[in-house]
């Protein structure tokens, strides 16, 4: 299974612009992010609360869909998925 993770803004600073994970840890987006958090403790600090919950309002898209409207952190991964991580941008 191959998953592509594209990171933007602050997350890009930590993990780089894009990475391909050939055998990602876990079968869900939550498990994949936990695995990335282990590899990049700074990313874990940016994305998760001390109670290990995903911080609110972070945008995680899988193939163009926000996981908030799928199964959230339990959203399953499939071969070829493209994941985009970007922070809330709300100013005008």
């Amino acid at each position: 299974m191959k998953i592509t993770v594209r990171a933007f803004a602050d997350y890009r600073e930590i993990i780089g612009k894009e990475m391909e994970l050939i055998e990602p840890e876990g079968k869900t987006i939550g498990e994949l992010l936990a695995g990335l958090g282990d590899r990049y403790p700074k990313l874990r600090g940016e994305m998760f609360t001390p109670a290990e919950e995903l911080k609110e309002f972070i945008n995680i898209f899988i193939n163009g869909r926000n996981i908030a409207f799928l199964n959230d952190m339990a959203t399953p991964l499939s071969d070829g998925d493209i994941i985009a991580l970007f922070p809330p941008v709300a100013g005008g």
């Binding site: 803004a9 609110e56 309002f57 898209f61 193939n63 163009g64 926000n66 908030a68 922070p87």
Partner: protein, 244 residues
């Protein structure tokens, strides 16, 4: 077309044709929010000859606005933004109509604000207000041009009822209010993209940022387009079912 219009819009008539220019002249656009984004979008659209611009904002000009809200001057401080902007844009282009409305956008006021409008530009500073615009745009089947900024970062997408999802398909919740750090140039990038999208949609030129989200990373010096799909179960534009 009148001679003075051919002169004024010469550089873009070459691109859009007289027909495209006439489409702009007959268009009526609501610019919701006259802040960092709204001032850029409104100035671009006024100069381009969009026939009617309705500018809605309830704030007054503050000193700290002037790093990015380029149409205001230091002696505008304390004045209503919508009125100061209306005056300035009228001086920029007396050939168009500009309405300045000092009103907060809510579920009630949006009805009058969106009346007889062809397209809405989202230049708000919070998602609660953006979702009000989104609902109004999709119930009236009007295109909505979304933009948002923070720091060196910004995003923009074009939402077209019947063709794309809506803002509520893409974003969940309303991030808490804050004094948003931003340089004026970030507003310039995103505001200009919103103005470009508006002109494209109104004239039918080019390929709109539909089903795609443009993300600007000024820190890295790079813009990226990511796929942004409709949620078939969306509470605004889908069937409203919550079973994911």
């Amino acid at each position: 077309m009148a001679e003075y219009r051919i002169d004024r819009y010469q550089r873009q008539i070459t691109l859009l044709g007289e027909e495209g220019q006439e489409r702009l002249r007959h268009a009526r656009v609501l610019v919701a929010g006259v802040g960092g984004l709204g001032t850029i979008v409104a100035a671009d659209l006024a100069a381009a000859g969009v026939g009617l611009l309705r500018l809605a904002d309830n704030d007054r000009v503050e000193l700290s606005n002037l790093n990015r809200q380029l149409i205001f001057r230091t002696d505008d401080i304390g004045r209503e933004k919508s009125v100061a902007a209306m005056e300035r844009l009228h001086l920029l282009n007396p050939d168009i109509q500009v309405e300045g409305i000092s009103q907060t956008i809510d579920d009630e006021t949006i009805n009058e604000l969106a009346k007889d409008i062809d397209l809405i530009v989202d230049a708000m500073d919070n998602f609660a207000a953006r979702f009000i615009l989104n609902k109004a745009a999709f119930s009236r089947r009007l295109p909505l041009i979304h933009g948002a900024v923070r720091g060196f970062f910004g995003q923009a997408t074009t939402l077209i009822p019947g063709n794309t999802g809506c803002l509520q398909c893409l974003f969940a919740g309303n991030p808490p209010g804050e004094i948003v750090p931003v340089i004026g140039a970030t507003c310039g990038v995103i505001g200009s993209i919103q103005a470009t999208e508006t002109i494209k949609v109104l004239t039918g030129r080019g390929k709109p940022l539909a089903n795609r989200l443009f993300f600007w990373d000024g820190q890295a010096g790079e813009g990226t387009v990511i796929t942004a799909k409709r949620n078939p179960h969306c509470i605004i534009c889908g069937d409203g079912r919550s079973d994911g």
